[in-house]
């Protein structure tokens, strides 16, 4: 039937129009179904191109020096390279990762079977026996709306249960860990850190820097090229304490607080999760933090 070619034409359209819209929709929440404008061609070109311009200030196609793929992310980078000869295949960074993931976002209009073929076959291959691969799976799930199919009530209940279990972890024998989720505005997926393995704020922030360096690199350097050895700790601290990003945490009462105000031990006891927030959104946190400190003492 002649309708089929028409649709493929449609799918190939509006790569450019998708770029500005998608650029501010990188932080997906499970309830957001707005990430649907992404048009995915079978060559992944659209996605990769926009990723290039969105998050990195380097020239398209340039390899960012010193930018090592963090473990697990190379899963996708490598595969995309293999798949696409004419794309900017130097994406050995985490940014290739979201592209196949985007194709799974509900509502995305694209040659779906092509997308899924490429994606899932590569997942299949890479996932076997590799601990790295676990990272990829979770990252995918965090982006797909309404998947896995679990009722919100259950999801919310389990989420708060898990936090409580983390809080109570000290009481449990053999599991002296305190995992909290870390999200960063603009990053496509969350990470988890075990607060128990750090003994002060400096250690935590350098660990976060390592985890999220691939996401922040595009913002930090005014020359348009990322720093030589990736992001130094002081850079991230600058970033975090400067105007770009602020490190915040949600405490036991559900309030969002600035990191660093309370003694480290008190922080690990009350911190439920972390969020690296855009500076502009953090206005108004400081006064609350002061109030809380007063109330505590």
């Amino acid at each position: 039937m002649s309708t089929t070619p028409l649709e493929h034409d449609y799918i190939g359209l509006s790569e450019s129009s998708s770029v500005p819209r998608s650029s501010d929709k990188l932080s997906y929440s499970s309830s957001s179904s707005s990430c649907t404008e992404e048009n995915y061609t079978s060559s992944n070109k659209a996605c990769l191109n926009f990723k290039e311009t969105e998050l990195r200030l380097g020239l398209p196609g340039s390899q960012s020096p010193g930018r090592k793929p963090s473990h697990g992310l190379s899963l996708f980078g490598k595969d995309i390279e293999n798949n696409n000869s004419n794309s900017n295949s130097n994406n050995t960074n985490g940014y290739a990762a979201p592209s196949p993931l985007k194709s799974l976002v509900s509502g995305a209009k694209r040659g779906f079977s092509d997308a899924l073929d490429g994606v899932s076959r590569n997942w299949g291959l890479s996932i076997n026996g590799k601990p790295d691969a676990e990272l990829g799976k979770g990252a995918v799930l965090a982006q797909v709306v309404g998947w896995p199919p679990i009722r919100s009530f259950r999801k919310n209940t389990m989420a708060s249960n898990l936090v409580k279990n983390n809080d109570a972890a000290e009481g449990k024998s053999g599991s002296g860990c305190l995992y909290v989720k870390v999200s960063m505005d603009g990053a496509p997926y969350l990470r988890k850190v075990d607060l128990k393995i750090y003994s002060n704020y400096m250690e935590l922030s350098s660990a976060l820097e390592k985890m999220f360096s691939c996401f922040t690199i595009g913002q930090c350097d005014s020359h348009g090229l990322p720093g030589q050895d990736g992001l130094s700790e002081s850079r991230l601290m600058d970033l975090l304490h400067g105007s770009e990003y602020v490190l915040t945490y949600e405490d036991k009462d559900g309030d969002w607080m600035l990191v660093g105000d309370v003694p480290w031990d008190m922080f690990t006891e009350t911190c439920r999760r972390l969020r690296i927030m855009k500076g502009s959104e953090a206005i108004g946190l400081a006064p609350r933090a002061m109030e809380k400190c007063k109330n505590r003492t």
């Binding site: 039937m1 291959l125 709306v145 249960n161």
Partner: protein, 585 residues
């Protein structure tokens, strides 16, 4: 009633007269009133006009699987004597946030019609309906005989609405609030049951989080001597639970509160003895935040358990295995995947009567820590529990061989819902698609009524389904298939198909339109994030006037694509309460 039910003898054929004279309508009505299955009743009503009439007068319970398939006016006109109504509203994918808010399925119009036509209404069971506090207040004030309210996966109401029910429904026997989007502002609703109120038999408020007045709860439990089902919420402590159990030894179903408390020896012994005293408990749930230390208090009670719901308790494999040893009569088990394969092995070893297993993921988005169950756990259960026929299994990996083994062990599956959580994941050992797994399921399990597929699937899966799944009624598909042919195979091959829900699959217009005649024999079709266009939907709507074709548009998406399509048969015509984001074609 008498005059209407007496048949006018229009065609005086002697043989006919003889038959009808010997079988007056009253007798027919009494006979038919013994029929409870709504399907049987539908069949009966099609026999002839007499039987249609007798059936409609004698029907007291009605089940409406899609609230928009019929209107309150049509319903009340046909059935004058209804006492019990079950209504289901939104498409199932609304549970997973795929349906826009304010979509519809509001109960209020129904209640208004019922207040006039069924003032003696006794029971209302709602699933995925929009229910407001105003509606609950209306319900409480307009139906003096009202006895049973069950709300599952509904939204739009708060604890204020519950307060109205507790205050005004003097004959209430059942209040069952499950997994709803309820605004829980306070637990004071529980205190609204008057001191003179004693008729409660079922109370389930496990869904709520606010603290209730425990004295009021104790008094309520004490005076309701027929209370059989009590499911409390997290705010009830172990000590409080013990006091409740002592007052209700006749309980048959128990949902505990928080199972986490520092109990010294004496209160623990009291708890254990309270449990032992409740000799009729066959269903156990709750156990919020259970600390394994106190689980032994349950061991004796577990001997008679037939349904154990641990789906909100994160037990590890060891402590779960210790518990399950004490549950030899278990028929239904719901757990979290924190019990892991080892826990499921214990189930296989200890629960030979098991018929239903549901394994939920404790933390599906966890990237760093991998727990959960694999194909091994499922296989272990299948070896030990040959009567298994209902399974819902969330896992992170699966193989074709494992599923083949499972259905070989348990060929009687009626409900097979397998969710491999990463979309499009192949058999992790062979890297092949999971086609053969589901092929084995449909080939072996001839009684299969409900199937949910997952993993990497080509059209072959759907060819198998169309060819073998002759009793299939409900099919859920996500991230699967290669071409229109897949969906076509299902539409052509499954004669009993009633509900088809599809998301993120490469099925397009050809597939959609191939089911043109089929959709009238189905309850509904859902297709989202597929390749269906508005034009095809319009064409479908035009050719099939007895179907409602609704398209939910998303902001900023292309106008020619139909992002989310919901098609259902109806005798009520297009609905008039759709929000602007839902277009009825």
């Amino acid at each position: 009633m008498e005059s209407e039910s007496k048949r006018k003898k229009e065609s005086p054929n002697t043989a006919e007269l003889a038959v009808t004279a010997s079988f007056p309508d009253e007798v027919l009505e009494i006979v038919l009133s013994l029929l409870t299955s709504h399907r049987d009743r539908s069949s009966v009503s099609l026999v002839c006009k007499d039987w249609y009439r007798a059936e409609r007068w004698s029907r007291t319970q009605v089940f409406i699987g899609n609230c928009y398939s019929v209107s309150p006016e049509i319903l009340t006109r046909r059935f004058p004597n209804i006492r019990s109504v079950t209504l289901k509203g939104k498409p199932r994918f609304s549970d997973f946030n795929l349906v826009p808010p304010n979509w519809g399925a509001d109960i209020h119009a129904w209640l208004v019609a019922f207040a006039v036509k069924y003032p003696f209404l006794e029971e209302l069971r709602l699933k995925r309906m929009a229910v407001s506090d105003e509606s609950l207040e209306f319900l409480a004030s307009n139906f003096p005989n009202f006895k049973l309210l069950s709300l599952l996966s509904c939204d739009g109401f708060s604890t204020d609405g519950l307060a109205a029910i507790a205050t005004h429904c003097k004959n209430l026997t059942e209040l069952d609030i499950q997994e709803n989007g309820i605004e829980d502002s306070s637990g004071s609703w529980l205190s609204c049951f008057p001191e003179s109120f004693t008729s409660l038999e079922v109370l389930n408020f496990a869904n709520l989080t606010s603290e209730v007045n425990t004295d009021a709860l104790e008094r309520l439990v004490s005076r309701c001597k027929s209370l059989k089902v009590l499911k409390v919420n997290k705010s009830i402590s172990l000590e409080q639970l013990q006091r409740l159990l002592v007052r209700a030894p006749q309980l048959e179903e128990l949902g505990t509160g928080s199972f986490l408390q520092d109990l010294t020896a004496r209160p623990y012994a009291d708890l254990e003895s309270a449990f032992n005293n409740c000799k009729n408990i066959h269903t156990l749930s709750g156990l919020w935040e259970a600390v394994p230390l106190y689980l032994p208090a349950l061991y004796n009670s577990c001997a008679n358990l037939t349904f154990l719901n641990l789906s909100y308790t994160a037990l590890q494999s060891g402590e779960f295995a210790k518990l399950v040893v004490h549950c030899p009569r278990l028929r239904r088990l719901w757990v979290l995947d924190t019990v892991e394969d080892k826990g499921l092995e214990a189930v296989g070893s200890n629960c030979p009567l098991l018929e239903e297993l549901r394994v939920f993921p404790a933390d599906p988005f966890d990237e760093e820590i991998i727990h959960g169950v694999t194909e091994e756990g499922f296989v272990a259960v299948s070896f030990g529990c040959r009567r298994l026929h209902y399974v819902l299994y969330f896992c992170r990996q699966m193989t074709n061989a494992a599923v083949a083994t499972i259905v070989q062990n348990c060929p009687n599956f009626t409900h097979f819902r397998l969710c491999i959580m990463t979309p499009g994941l192949p058999d992790y050992l062979t890297n092949e698609p999971m086609d053969e797994a589901f092929g084995a399921v449909v080939k072996t399990c001839s009684k299969l009524q409900r199937l949910s597929v997952s993993g990497l699937l080509t059209d072959l899966t759907f060819e198998y389904i169309g060819k073998y799944a002759k009793n299939l009624e409900t099919l859920s598909v996500a991230f699967a298939g290669r071409s229109d042919r897949g969906m076509q195979c299902v539409l052509e091959g499954c004669p009993k198909l009633r509900k088809l829900e599809i998301r993120d699959c490469p099925f397009g217009n050809e597939a959609l339109l191939s089911g043109l005649e089929k959709y009238e024999s189905m309850r509904s079709l859902w297709m989202s994030a597929c390749n269906v266009t508005m034009n095809a939907c319009r064409r479908l709507a035009k050719q099939m006037p007895r179907l409602n074709v609704e398209v939910m548009k998303e902001d900023g998406s292309d106008d020619s694509q139909a992002d989310k399509v919901y098609i259902y048969r109806t005798v009520a015509g297009p609905r008039r309460d759709a929000p602007p984001s839902v277009l009825t074609l």
